[in-house]
């Protein structure tokens, strides 16, 4: 039993599964295309070809995927359109990981009033649907890049905090932590040396799942006109802009939506694979992963 799960000497077992491989390839492909957008996209995303409005997708023309209402090249806009979502959701996700995991470990390891206080703080956050929270903050604080990142971070840190805290609390009763405490290590030292490495697998998985939640929220906000503003292209905003021409040119709306869907699917499949790989599946089950 033990021998079977031990890695063979000299070989790293990746334990790749088919869904995992599909997920990772999707993420690599879409993130790669997005990063490389300036060098591979045929046009600038804001260039207007006024002789070619609403051109249909055509492999033989200059505009492979066609053009939109003001003659902008759809392919270029889709390639560029992933940059803002990835930038915003990525930074928000990173921030939320730092805040959520950091505070979660602190609360779980220390307990006491810190735990009580942070728990209440997370409760308040969860007392509001994240899109409503985003709505009210963006309404009065104004729509800009930094506010978007803050709003998405605020919406996602509580779930990360709760999962990390629960795990840190279960660690607290383990022998090696008790031994470290009896050995006279300071709390900071124990958190850094013993708690953090042990919550890392869980943190990696929750951060991955959080990225898909953040992307979804960013897209929803941009769709509602509260996210990235034109002329900067953004998938959610493009879905909204194309919706009024759905009958004549459905691809304007569907194509960016599909890109977003594929990216989220890729992230979720990778997250699922990671959860199995890092043996944390049991920890995130039944916690009711909050969708935006």
């Amino acid at each position: 039993m033990i021998a079977a799960t031990q890695p063979q000497r000299g070989r790293i077992r990746i334990g790749m599964t088919v869904p995992g491989a599909i997920g990772i390839s999707l993420v690599v492909l879409i993130v790669g295309l997005t990063i490389l957008a300036p060098s591979i996209s045929p046009f600038s995303p804001s260039d207007q070809d006024l002789y070619n409005l609403y051109a249909a997708p055509n492999l033989n023309s200059a505009h492979i995927l066609g053009t939109d209402a003001i003659g902008q090249d759809l392919l270029s806009r889709i390639l560029y359109g992933g940059r803002m979502p990835l930038l915003i959701a990525g930074s928000a996700c990173l921030l939320s990981a730092i805040v959520g995991v950091g505070l979660g470990v602190l609360a779980g390891a220390r307990g006491g009033w810190i735990d009580q206080f942070l728990g209440r703080l997370a409760d308040i956050q969860l007392a509001m649907p994240s899109i409503i929270l985003a709505l009210v903050l963006l309404a009065f604080a104004g729509v800009n890049l930094i506010n978007l990142v803050i709003v998405i971070t605020l919406a996602t840190w509580p779930s990360q905090f709760r999962l990390t805290r629960a795990h840190a609390m279960s660690l607290r009763r383990q022998n090696f932590i008790e031994a470290a405490e009896m050995g006279g290590g300071s709390t900071g030292q124990i958190i850094l040396r013993h708690y953090l490495p042990n919550v890392m697998p869980l943190a990696i998985v929750t951060t991955t799942l959080n990225l898909s939640t953040s992307l979804l929220l960013e897209a929803s906000l941009s769709y509602l006109g509260l996210g990235v503003q034109p002329p900067t292209p953004d998938w959610g905003q493009m879905v909204a802009a194309g919706q009024s021409q759905l009958g004549a040119a459905w691809w304007l709306s569907v194509a960016p939506g599909v890109m977003l869907m594929l990216l989220i699917l890729g992230i979720q499949l990778s997250g699922d694979w990671l959860a199995g790989r890092l043996s944390v599946r049991g920890m995130i089950r039944f916690q009711g992963w909050k969708k935006s």
């Binding site: 649907p129 009210v136 759905l246």
Partner: protein, 322 residues
């Protein structure tokens, strides 16, 4: 467990204990306080609340009037208390666009959101339960695996894409259903379908996992051993017991649905409270934003409280006061 005398009289036991009820209600009050505090902070974050609550072309006297009327000339702490009083009495500055009390608009729109949320939830629950049940019990491996793969794919579907695809298929290509607006039951179909598909995956996953957990419980083995038919065991002993985590999930989703409705209502121009808030925001009609957001935040907390109490009635294990 108790060792009291066997002559003890049977007395009426309420389904939930008073301490439980009190502690949960206190939690709800706390949550409402927290949510409204966030709204208040946001309102002050944007600078002068009074000038953001009147139309951009308002005169200095108008701004002063609103400032005095709603207490924005007072110290921040007093403003905070006045804000709570105003929310409690539904007293907000008039809508700039509709020139009526925002609460009137909120009450006019809220039933639509409620109908949409309930239809979407019922649809999502039926769909989720069916997929979960099939994926746990179906005889053929394809019937077990394919629904879960579909669930995985649906979970990645952004509601905005789903909505657009549904409009494209049913309104534009097939011309069966209207694409936007409200009024008739037909208008309700596509938005509820979008919401339903949005929540079904979570319900399916929880139901499936829960079934697989309950399947190995002692009482299931006993039922099988005493000769209850396998189908009865599946329905009465496994599925029925597996529903409790699903109920919790429905509660979580019902709240998420109030948020999801904001997007779905906008996609289909369904005249609900979410569409009201987004429309008001895009028109800089901040009193309406304030009123609708406060209202949704309060309803959200109350819905969660209701679900908590309901699941405690159904599952005594959850009654302990935490």
């Amino acid at each position: 467990m108790s060792t009291s005398a066997p002559s003890r009289k049977l007395r009426y036991r309420p389904p939930v204990t008073l301490p439980y009820l009190l502690s949960r209600s206190a939690g709800a009050v706390f949550a409402i306080w927290g949510a409204l505090t966030i709204v208040f902070l946001a309102l002050n974050l944007g600078g002068d609340p009074a000038s953001s609550l009147v139309s951009p072309s308002a005169s200095v006297e108008d701004i002063e009037r609103v400032r005095r009327l709603y207490g924005y000339d007072q110290p921040l702490l007093v403003q905070y208390l006045i804000f709570f009083k105003n929310v409690a009495t539904g007293d907000f500055p008039n809508s700039l666009r509709y020139a009526t009390s925002p609460m009137a608009l909120v009450f006019e729109r809220f039933p639509n959101t409620l109908i949409l949320a309930l239809c979407g939830m019922s649809l999502g629950t039926v769909l989720g339960l069916a997929i979960g049940y099939a994926s746990a019990f179906a005889k053929h491996w394809m019937l077990r695996e394919i629904p879960m793969a579909v669930v995985m794919a649906l979970q990645a579907f952004p509601p905005i894409l789903l909505g657009v695809l549904l409009v494209l298929a049913f309104s534009i290509k097939l011309r069966w259903l209207p694409s936007a607006g409200g009024g008739s039951p037909l208008h309700l179909v596509l938005p509820s379908l979008t919401l339903g598909i949005y929540v079904a995956p979570a319900i399916a996953r929880v139901f499936r996992t829960s079934i697989l957990d309950v399947q190995n419980a002692d009482h299931v083995r006993t039922a099988l051993a005493k000769g209850v038919s396998p189908r009865m065991v599946r329905l009465r002993h496994v599925a029925a017991n597996a529903l409790i985590p699903v109920l919790n999930q429905i509660g979580l989703q019902l709240g998420a649905m109030l948020g999801g409705a904001v997007v779905v209502e906008t996609i289909f121009s369904w005249p609900g409270i979410g569409q009201l808030a987004v429309g008001a925001l895009n028109n800089q009609d901040f009193p309406v934003v304030l009123a609708s957001v406060s209202f949704v935040a309060i309803v959200f907390v109350l819905v969660n409280l209701l679900v908590d109490i309901l699941s405690a009635i159904l599952d005594p294990r959850q009654r302990s006061v935490q």
